[in-house]
Amino acid sequence: SQKIEQNSEALNIQEGKTATLTCNYTNYSPAYLQWYRQDPGRGPVFLLLIRENEKEKRKERLKVTFDTTLKQSLFHITASQPADSATYLCALGLTGGGNKLTFGTGTQLKVEL
């Protein structure tokens, strides 16, 4: 069956450290993968998009990697801050999917002082 798995347990890290979140998928062949941030009671906010032919993307303190052989994406936040505390969602998009997204369950990140 098709699955998208993210760290089910909350991730607690210290301010200034690098947070690494994992997204593993099974029985999908995504054309692209996106990462979103979601705060409680709010809609997801787009962070980064990476396509199947790209290995790595960066934006300011954010970095995402995409390994289609391992069927895995890693999302890194460097020099983390308490304001980075939120739930982070990965979402897969398929070729011809017309921007339809299939989401994982999300990982809750808490950055402590």
Partner: protein
């Protein structure tokens, strides 16, 4: 630019009732998708509208229906509400561009529906 706006923000309905949720997409966007997000879960795709037609549909029953208007705004209708329909309903807009496929989606703040 107001971004994606949804109304209402909160709604309480009784089992068996019908509900209509509304969405105005981000300026310049022509595609609207609806998602259902249960507590502690990721958003689940309900359907997508483009050029006033339903283009794709997720695994949701026919009780869930929608509409897109000429100005690209959209409605989600749910009939015969069940307790299990209680969730955050999210609208996302995007632009279908054949030269640049697979762009990001912009989400509204959602409508929190509670069925009692």
């Amino acid at each position: 630019d107001a971004g994606v706006t949804q109304s209402p923000t909160h709604l309480i309905k009784t089992r068996g009732q019908q509900v209509t949720l509304r969405c105005s997409p981000k300026s310049g966007h022509d595609t609207v998708s609806w998602y259902q997000q249960a507590l502690g879960q990721g958003p689940q795709f309900i359907f997508q509208y483009y050029e006033e037609e339903e283009r794709q549909r997720g695994n949701f029953p026919d009780r869930f229906s929608g509409h897109q208007f000429p100005n690209y705004s959209s409605e989600l209708n749910v009939n015969a509400l069940l307790l299990g329909d209680s969730a955050l309903y999210l609208c996302a807009s995007s632009l279908i561009d054949r030269d640049l496929p697979n762009t990001e989606a912009f989400f509204g703040q959602g409508t929190r529906l509670t069925v009692v």
